[in-house]
Each structure stands twice: as C-alpha cells, then as structure tokens.
Symmetry: C2
Subunit: 754 residues, 2 copies
C-alpha cells in the first residue's frame, strides 16, 4: 500500500533521522524541547534496535534497561539516611551522647538500659552542653550556655550549607518544584539533575533542616529523587539521548520523592500527574506506582522513624467526627486559604526585592541573619525549639492515657478508670493553657519567618512549615471547641452529639485538617493532598473533613489569585511554563499572536532552490532564530518545510569541509532534484535531509484557544501560520506565553527564556 | 493588538458559532464527535453567558450548575438498593421469612430475638420452601423440593430479566464497559444513557444476580452510574448541548460507579483515567474524586453490607507475608494470566458464533438454557449455590476462632489457649479436605459457565466471576502451602520463617492475590486494580504480593495477546475506538493513509467562488461524505477551509426559502466579497459563515505515528492532507483505525461505524 513517492520521501526522512551530524537532535541550555519530535525519534530508535537484535536479544536488552528502574531504590535509601542524619544533628544542637557521639537523643536513651518508659527522655548517657561543659543542668547560666550552643550550631550548619551550595551546586537551592515543573514541561536546564546537585542537595538539606530554619525537606526530596532518576537515565542511551523519554523517568522519580517524603505511595502517584508532570503518558502511571512503592519500602526497611510504619505522622483517632464539626473545619479551610494568599504575596514580594535590589548580592549574609534570628527567637519557646516534624507529630496526636505532652495536661476525674483508648473530654489543665499561649506565639513567629526563609539560596521545602502553621492553628481551634463543648454541653449545637462523659472532640484531627487547609492554600493541590493525608491516617473516616477544608481553602485562595506558590515562582523566574490547568478563554486568533506583526519586517525564510550557501550563512549570522521556514519561492510563499538552525549549521559546515565543489556561490536546494542551473555554476548543495517536511501548521483564523490546546497537548515548540497554503508567520511557545500573560494583564516581557 | 482583518474574520466566525440553524452542532447517531470543536463551543457559551449575566449572577448560576453534581448521590443510593434487593431475592430462592416476606435470611434471623450468635443461621421465622410447603426440613424429598424451587426461581428471574431487556431497553445488556470506553472516546450512541436503560438495567441487574448466573454487578453498576450522570447532565444545557462537556460528567460518574461497586473511592478515581476515559482533563480528576466520595458515603449511610464498612470484602489479616511466599504468589499470577487468555479467546469465539450463526436469534432461549444448567449444576455444591460475593468474602477471610465455616475446620490443639487473633497453623480437618474437593469442582464449573454467560443479552459483569475463579484457586494453593509448611517445617524453604506453633501462612491472602491476578488477566488493569485491592484490605502491607501477582498476570496474558476483554469486545463489535494505550510504531506516512488513494477519483471539493447552488446540491446528493474541503480553485487546489455537510444542507435550504433571488444558478461563494459576476447573473449566495476557516491540516510527509498522536490527543474527526499548501486528500478517524488494523494484520473492514 505504500506508494513509491512515499517511500522515497520516507527514505529521505530516514537520512534525516539517522543523525549524520554529532550534535543534531540535542538541545541547547535554556531551550524548549519538541515533544512530537522526541517521540518520533524514540520510535525510530525502537525500530532500529528491533531490526538489529532478534526477538530474544531484544527482550533481554529490554529487561536489562527496565531493571534499571531498580535505581529507584536510591531515593528511599537517601531519604532514610537524611532522616537519620537530621535526627542526630538536630539533637546535637542541644547535647551529645556520651556512649557514642553518633547517637541521637532517642537512640542514646534507648540503648542505655537504665531508663524506664516514663523517663525515656532523661538518661545519664545523654548530656546537654551545659552538663558536659560546666557540669550544670539547671539554672540561668546553664540555660544561657545551652542557648548559645544552640545558636552557634545553627549558625555553623547554615553557614556550611549556604557555602556548599554557592561553591559547588548553585542549582541545589530552593525547593526545586518550580524548576521540576518547568523542566518536565519540556525546558532544558543543564546540570539541574547533575550528580553534584544530588550530592550537595542531600548534604545541605540535612544541614539546613538541622539548623532549625523554618523549612521542610519534602520539596527538596522530590528534587533529590529526580536527580537519582536522572542518574539512572544517564546510564541508558534510550533515556539519556531522548529528552522525552528522560522526562518519563523523572515523572516516576518525582512520585518516588513524594512517596518517601510522606510515606504515601498512592499520594505520590497522584502528585506526579496533578502537580509536576506535564506530558504524562498512561504507561508512566504504572511506572510511577512501581517507583513510589519501591521507594516507600526501601525507606521502611531502613526504618528511620523507628515505628516500622511507612508514614511520617502516623495517627490513630478513636472517635468519629460529627456534622456540626464541619463548621470549624470550614473555618480552618478559610484560614488556610488566607494564609496561602498572604504567604504567596509576601514571599513573592520579598523574592522580587531580593532579585532586584542589592539584597541578592549577599546570600550568605542573608542566610546567616535569618538563621540567627530564627535560633534566637525559637529557643525560648518549646514549640519552635524542637524540629518542625516533631511539632507536627505532637499536634496531630490524640491525647492517650500515656501521653506526657503539655498539650495533654487535662484535669482527670480521679473517680474514673476507663480503658486507655476512650478518654472522655476533660477540662483543660494549666499545661494546656500555657501551651495555647506558646502555640499562639509560635504560630505568629512561624508565619513571619517562613515568608523570609523560602527562596533563600539553600534547599528549602514548604510543605512542613505550611503544615506546621495549619496544625498549630488547628490544634488551638480544636482545644477551643473541645473546652466549649465540655463546659457548655447543654448548648443546642452540642446537645445532640456531645453528652457529658463522652469523648466527642479530637483536637488532633483539627490540627490535621488545619495542616491540609494550609498546605492546600499554598500549593493548591487537591486530590493528591487529600490522598496523602488519607494515607497518613489510613482511614476513609476522615476524608470528608479533609476534603471540606481543602476545597474551602482552595476556593478562598483562588479568589485572591489563581496562582499557587510554585506557579508564582515560575512566573517570578520567567520560566516558559505553559500550565495545563490554566484555561484560555479569550477570543483572539492565531493571526493576532503570530510574528511578524503588522509593520514588522517580513519573516526570515529560506527558499527551496534559489539561495546560495553564502545567502544562508549570512541569514544565519544576522538572525538568532532557532529555525527557518522553507518556501517554494518568495513570490508564492507556499510552505514546504522547516529547517532547524542547529541542523543547518553543522550540515553546511560539514559540506564545505568534506564535499567537493561546495563554495559560497553554490545553490542550496531542498527539493528532491537539483534546480536547473546555468552551465558554469558551481556544484549545488542538497540539504533535503535537514528539512522537516511535516512542520506543524495552523491557519490564521484558528482561535488561540485551539492553538494553546495544541501547544499543550502536543508539546510543540513552534507552529507555522498559513492562509490558503501561503506562509504568513510563526508562533513559538514563547509567543503563546507572552500572549497569555498579556491577556491576563501581566507583563508579557516577564517570560525570559525561549 | 487585534488587527482589523482579524476582527472581521472573527466576526464571521462569530456568525458561524452563533448556530443560526436549529440542528447545527448536533451529531447523528453512530457518528464521531470533534473534541476541539466541542471545546471551542463551550468556551463560546461561557463567554456569552458571562457577557449577559454580571459576575454575581454568573457565580450563582455556576453554583447551581455545580450543585447538580449532587445528583451523584443517585449511584450510591441505587447501589445500596441493588445490594439489598439482591440479598433478599437470592435468599428467596431458598426460603422465605414468615414475619415479613421482604426480609432476607440474615435480617429475618437478626430481628427474631430467639437466636443466639452460634445459631445465627437457624431461626424458626426463616423457613425453607420444603418446610413451608410440605413441613419437612430434612430428607431426600425435602432436598428435591428445595432443589426444584431453587431452579424455578432462577428461571423466573432470568426470564423476567431477558424479556425486560429485549422489550424495553436493548442497550441494557452486557457489562457496558466496552461501550462506555467507546462513547467516552467520542462516539455517539443515542439512548445508551437513557432513562429507560437506567431503570431497566437496575431492575434486571437485581434479577440476573439473584438468579445465580455466573456474573457480577460491578460493570453494570458503572453503566448505571453513567446513566445517572447523563440524567443529571440532561438537566443543564451546559452539559446536554455539548458532547465534550457531557463526557466529563460521564467520566466522573464512571469513577462513582467503581467507587460504589467496591467501596473503593480512590480506586474509582484511578479507574476512570486508566480504563474508561479517553479525554481526561485534569479538572475532571477532582470532580471524579468528589463523585467517588459522595457515592461511597451515600452507600455507607444505606449500609447494605450491615457492617458499617465501606468495602465489599473487608478483610483483616494478622500475620505479615514472607519473601518465600512470593513464589506461590507469582504462580497465582501465571494462573491468572492463563485464565485471562483462555477466557478472552473462548468468550470471543463464542460471541462471534452468536453473532454469525442462528444462535443469536434466540437470546431468551439461550438465557433460559444457561440459567437452567447453572442452577442444576450449582445447587448441589455449597460453594456455587450461594451468591458469588458471599463466596469470595468467605474465601478472603482469615480463619478466626469464631469462624464456623467448613474452610476453617482445622484440628485444634486442645492444650492451647491462645488469644483469638493469633491462631497458629494447624493440621487440616475433614471439613477442609471436603472443601478442597468442592472448591476444585466449583472452580472448573465457574471457568466453563462464565465463558458462556458473559455476552448474553442480559446485564452481566465480569469482575466478580473473575475474582471468584482467582479466589478459589488462591485459597486452594494457600491451604496447600499452609499444610505443607505445617507438616514439613524442617524443609529448608520453611525453616526460617515457619517454626512449629507459629501462624505463618494466611490462606485468605492467597485467595485475595489469586483474585487480583485473575481480574488483572481478564481486564489488564494494573494501578487501579492494585489500589482497589489495597482499599479492600486497608493496609500497605500486602501491596507487594498484589503487585507481584498483577504484574505477572499482565505479562503472561500480554504474551498471548495484547487485548483485554473490553478491547476484544470493542473489536468484535467494530466500534471506532482509538486506544490511548496502543503504540503505533510503523513507518508509514500520511500520504499512505489518506483518501483518495492512487487511482481513485479525486476528492470531492467545493471551490470558493465558482460553483452554483445546483452544483453543490448535486455533489451533496451524490456523495455521503460528512463534509467537503473548500479550495480557491480546482487548478490551484489551495485549501481555504472545510464545510460540514450537516451545516451546508440547512444553510442552502434556508437561503432558498427565505433569501430573495437565490435560484439554482446562483453562484455560491465562501470569500468575504462576492466574486465578480456578469451583469445579468442571479443573486449570489454567501456561505462563509458555515465555513470552518481553521481546518486541521498535516503535510503528506507527516509520519502516521504523529498523525495518530494528533487524532488521539486532540480528538479530531478528520484531518486534511496538504503538500506545499495544496490539498491532496483527507484522513478520517475511520481511515486511521483501518490503517492501524491493517498494520496489526487484522481485517480493516471490521471497523464498521464512522
């Protein structure tokens, strides 16, 4: 069925795809890839390998390549190591283990046999710095010494971290998720997944988390996991030579990253298509799932949390929730939305200031200053002194009978002996009131300091601080509702479900709902957020409160601005990111967006058989376009194809060096047969093999809505605009982004790269 | 920035989109929709409504429309009602409750106070038919009477069901999932989601499940949920008038269907994009999630399973699994893959026979015959007599201390008193050996009868029978391994993990793994399958065994044929379904696929200003194409647009009736200005508004791989092929499907619809 003409055509295509020149098909840094082309190149490679190896060998090769997915053991392992190291170094700020300095506080006391369960926090082997240095454990001077040591360690860790990042791996800073989103959407940032980035990000992540700064390890862990994925993909040419295939691996690695960050494999699988991945083929779903599971199980076998649970904050509540509680849950959702808006606005304003003023020139000083302030303010308050994950964990917890926390200092009814699990609501004791004040102060501090911390030149994640803000607010609301219900159980709203002596309000659940709301407000995640939270509790029971809060928070935050923090940072940095979620509803046409505009000089085009080598070389030198449309002649302007700059240059260079008779006056032709030339003209140069004979075209009347859809779904880099077959102009991804920014009343020049 | 030329162009476009004729924009039955067009129409509607209503009113309208999602309460309610009705009618085959005939066996005995927990199955109020009719409960004659009553009821139910389907709603038969996949991919089958289909499918589903046929209610429940979704969407013009938007609702409804079928909301959310949805915008993810949750919670509040659990088969295992057990798990995976292959081949062969021979003419007789055979063979065996869901539930269960089932008839060590949960492995008793024989017979029967049952003209799902086959095989393997481990715990493979007195093998887990393997082999689901199974157990613990079995099963089954049962039925019925998962890797070009082929008469085109009304009318009459490309002139063949038949016909008719001076000799023009005509020529007819000025084009050199990708991702209906701006031909979705079938060595003429 294949006609002769088509065969010769595909013969040429084959030449073209065989990549005769070494750097054809690779992209330059900060450029956008062409998904359709990458896909077609992969199919081609597939066919070629298939032709060489017979079925058996091919299957074997395939198996070897696929076994490479085992490198996904790495993120799990790294996450485990990071957790252990952070544990140790956080405790190092307070004291040291005498039996073995590499033990954390908990490990130190576990290994010592002298401690009972009640005194599990106090053991002679663990010494605070004051005990070790001046043999004092109480008193003002001991307190000040410990305070100073705490600040010193924090400064040391922070200084080390920011220096390492500056010297060895500038890409290791930040959470990495904005860049991951952009790169996965088809942008090239070389070195972003490099081995140095992997190493330095892992080490500095430990340092900054231990230094007590208000940041989390979740976002950076996703970046680290992607680096692992990239390291693996560099081992196989199938992935390393094809930017499209490489992004499939990276999508799966991102899922693995979330999976180990929270111990939530299914949440990780959903996070990947919902948040970071742009071009998510269905078969990636299965691989992501596999990656997420392998990573989760590696982490569990390392068991850094010491509870043989997969999850970071395992909670078990004993009471259901009641309809009336939806009201405070929705209030928490509103709080989360407001916090998200406030945080995004302030953080972006501060980051813009950092970019545009002198401030940005002293990143080390900035980190040191923020660390110093954090440490000085944080130490006196027990809720900010400890690590943020521990704080969240405590806030989420239900008050069991064995709980010694200040938050569980309720006044017990001495006459009652009850099973451990089912403690009725009790009046709050002194400890709870103290805790409320401290939590309120900690909340304000956390809100302020996080705004200044996120975006500094160190690895910094947002999930944990956001969750902490929400958990503190939630716990306070929860305790408030609980005490209200205890003291006023005759009120009409409590009468139906909260009799005296019943366990009706679980403040820990409020903390969890608050955390979900705040995280949702900042990141605008929905499904994956709820699933992650669901995996933390492991019960369907509490999905409705979580969903109610997440939806409210998203609605409230969206009312003030559609962008989540990651999109806001993408815009701030001017990355060319075409969001899948943005709907383009304006009534503009392709003709309004294409270049050249009315009055601009005409498009630089090549003709199929009338330009000389010199003409083309001049054109290439004088312009910096990535490619040139090829037309039949300047008069007819009928489009026949598209030649890429990066293929044209080596092809001409190559021909000039190796092919005889090619001089500046040689006519360059893109047709199958050379044009008819005068008798004494020099040897013509055939360049059909660098010509893309199937450029993507739309007509000038195509609505931009359709054009945006095509760019998104097919991952195009550029698209030619024609009318009745005549070339009118070109639309690049950057033009589309500029136009979208313009329509949204933003500065179109903020999109910087191409 | 919008230039004047563009404005006039968009003015015309506006005319065109304003739908001046009543039936413009609707599709005929068994036609394919154009996704890009539907999307653009929705944006247009959006803009129009936005312009009329001001922001406040618009938000309100939006809220009302979105509150319509509450109609998703319906699937949950229906599922609950179906469960209750099936319970009652299944028991009706064995006996009746004297206190209230509408009570099922369990409800009857629960409400009677005379029964103890031990005798919960026996209560005087519940009477078997023999007790009621001849006052005998034991003995051969009682047995025969009960046997006969069982067969009679089964036949009655089946006859009612098949008659109802035949008379009222022919679309209510089958599982519906192949049709749902096809329709969601953009095909029109009118009446498939009708109210009659909803009603009849619900009623007949109860009847056929109760009749004891080897079929499940899960697939049909997805269809029922989609019908509910369609019913909702018919209430709002936003959805009912736009086939694209309607499909978004249906995707969410499908998620709700799976969610209620298994009580697995997250599994449902993943099922929708993985299995049924074709065009799955991200915002649908959130709606699906919402739909799935609402449905699940409605079902729970109805509480048909009486255990206040969300899930159909809730299990709780007390022991972990061991590495060595992976071997039997993988064996079960192989079994699942083989079963899947066998089932698909035999079932398709039988269904093809039904389609092509006389057999298909007697659907009622066929159903009666299969029901009779099923009832006759099933009754004597306790594992086939009961409902299949009960069977699966029993097979999944771990043997606790209170378990009275025959499968748990182990020989207890009289010296041991142990907590209830932690029973060590014990030698099998007589009951277990009997059960093994009965299970083996039941397995063979189930395998054979399911092949003949699926595809009859009644609602029939496959999930439950497949799971039952796997669960039976799995339980038998599990008991085998358990006894092997008990009797030979000195063998090297058992020595490490199975000491005497330990509870090391859980046969119920094997049943679950077997069920997952068999379901995977038949449907080729992966992620959603594992997530559904994970939601059933509610623990991450057993994901690895489930995954191992699901992957093995998929590999084994794929080795024999890539198609799952639903794809196989789609092919059998010749639906135009372009699978997202199929990779097209052949090296053909657009020119090889386009019509007209070499030697065929040229494409029927319209010219922009030289054809008369009569010419066009003749062309429309003589051909049956859905649309015609419009070119500048027959000589230049430069493409300017595409006119759809269903817009052209009413436009001409309209003009002839209402517009003065339009006669057969009137020149029809598609340009902005009328062509220059001789002085005495009749009034020309302007038809630019029916012209689509942005038809989708590719060049003849475009690889088919790219074309297939474009058709899939953009949901195109047709695409024009050009070379240097000249029109060469057209490719329709049907051409693409035919070409793909041809490349896969299938009969291209098997694709029947367009």
């Amino acid at each position: 069925m294949v006609s002769a003409g088509a065969m010769s055509g595909s013969g040429n295509l084959m030449d073209f795809l065989d990549e005769p020149f070494p750097d054809v098909g690779t992209y330059e840094d900060f450029h956008t890839i062409d998904w359709l082309r990458e896909k077609s190149r992969d199919t081609d490679r597939h066919r070629k390998v298939h032709a060489v190896h017979k079925d058996g060998a091919w299957a074997l090769l395939h198996a070897v390549e696929d076994s490479g997915w085992l490198s996904l053991l790495l993120p799990g392992t790294l996450a485990g190591v990071i957790d252990l190291a952070v544990d140790w170094m956080t405790d190092l700020k307070e004291g040291i283990c005498l039996s073995a300095f590499w033990y954390s506080h908990e490990q130190c006391c576990w290994t010592s046999n002298e401690t009972t369960f009640e005194d599990r926090d106090k053991c002679p082997l663990w010494q605070k710095w004051s005990e070790l240095l001046v043999k004092q454990s109480e008193g003002a001077s001991a307190y000040i010494l410990n305070y100073l040591m705490y600040i010193l360690w924090a400064l040391l860790f922070a200084f080390l971290a920011v220096s390492l990042v500056r010297v060895f791996a500038p890409y290791a800073c930040g959470s990495g998720i904005p860049e991951i989103k952009t790169i996965l959407s088809g942008f090239i940032i070389r070195g972003y997944w490099g081995k140095w980035t992997l190493l330095i990000k892992t080490v500095t992540l430990v340092l900054v988390v231990s230094s007590g700064l208000s940041l989390g390890k979740e976002g950076p862990l996703v970046h680290v996991a992607c680096c692992c994925g990239n390291f693996f993909s560099s081992l196989f040419s199938k992935y390393s030579k094809n930017e499209g295939k490489r992004r499939e691996v990276l999508s799966a690695a991102a899922a693995a990253g979330v999976s180990v960050a929270f111990g939530a494999p299914i949440g990780g699988v959903l996070f990947s298509p919902e948040e970071v991945s742009y071009y998510f083929p269905l078969k990636t779903l299965w691989r992501s799932f596999f990656a997420a599971l392998v990573a989760a199980f590696t982490l569990r076998s390392i068991n850094p949390f010491g509870n043989s649970r997969l999850v970071l904050f395992y909670v078990e509540y004993h009471t259901p929730w009641y309809m009336a509680e939806l009201f405070p849950f929705i209030l928490l959702g509103v709080f989360g939305g407001l916090w998200g808006t406030l945080f995004i606005r302030c953080n972006i304003a501060w980051c813009r200031r950092r970019k545009t003023t002198k401030l940005g020139k002293y990143p080390v000083l900035e980190v040191i200053a923020v660390t110093a302030i954090t440490a000085i303010v944080a130490y006196p308050n027990p809720y900010t002194r400890r690590s943020t994950s521990e704080l969240i964990s405590e806030l989420f917890n239900d008050c069991g009978a064995l709980e010694s926390s200040q938050l569980c200092d309720y006044i017990n009814d001495p006459n009652m002996t009850r099973p451990v699990d089912d403690i009725p609501d009790r009046p709050a004791g002194v400890g709870v009131y103290t805790a409320m004040w401290q939590l309120a102060l900690a909340l304000i501090f956390k809100i302020v300091i996080t705004i200044f911390t996120f975006g500094m030149k160190i690895p910094s994640g947002l999930f944990i601080p956001s969750m902490a803000v929400g958990a503190m607010a939630g716990r306070m609301v929860g305790i408030g509702v609980e005490q209200l219900a205890y003291h006023h159980h005759d009120w009409i709203i409590f009468r139906n479900w909260c009799r005296p002596g019943a366990d009706c309000v679980t403040p820990g659940l409020y903390a969890m709902v608050g955390a979900a709301a705040c995280l949702g407000g900042v990141t605008r995640m929905t499904v994956s957020l709820v699933v992650i939270m669901f995996e933390l509790t492991g019960g369907l029971e509490y999905i409705v409160p979580l969903m109610a809060a997440a939806v409210t928070s998203k609605w409230v935050a969206d009312a003030f601005g559609k962008e989540g923090i990651y999109e806001a940072h993408i815009h701030l940095n001017g990355y060319p990111f075409l969001d899948v979620k943005d709907e383009f509803t304006h009534r503009t046409l392709a003709t309004d967006v294409m270049r050249p505009r009315r009055g601009e000089p005409p498009l630089s085009v090549l003709t199929q058989g009338s330009m000389t080598v010199e003409d083309v070389e001049t054109l290439i030198k004088e312009t910096d376009y990535n490619g040139f449309p090829v037309v039949v002649s300047r008069d007819s302007e009928r489009l026949i194809g598209f030649a890429q700059r990066r293929e044209l240059i080596p092809a001409i260079k190559n021909a000039r060096q190796r092919q005889e008779g090619i001089v500046s006056d040689s006519v360059m032709y893109f047709t199958e047969e050379p044009p008819e030339l005068p008798a004494n003209s020099p040897q013509p140069l055939k360049l059909r093999r660098v010509l893309n004979l199937s450029p993507f075209t739309v007509t000038d009347h195509t609505p931009m809505e359709t054009v945006v859809d095509i760019f998104r779904k097919l991952g195009l880099r550029q698209c030619l605009v024609t009318r009745s077959g005549r070339l009118l102009g070109i639309i690049t991804k950057k033009d589309v982004l500029r136009h979208m920014a313009q329509m949204a009343n933003q500065d179109p020049e903020s999109i910087m790269f191409n």
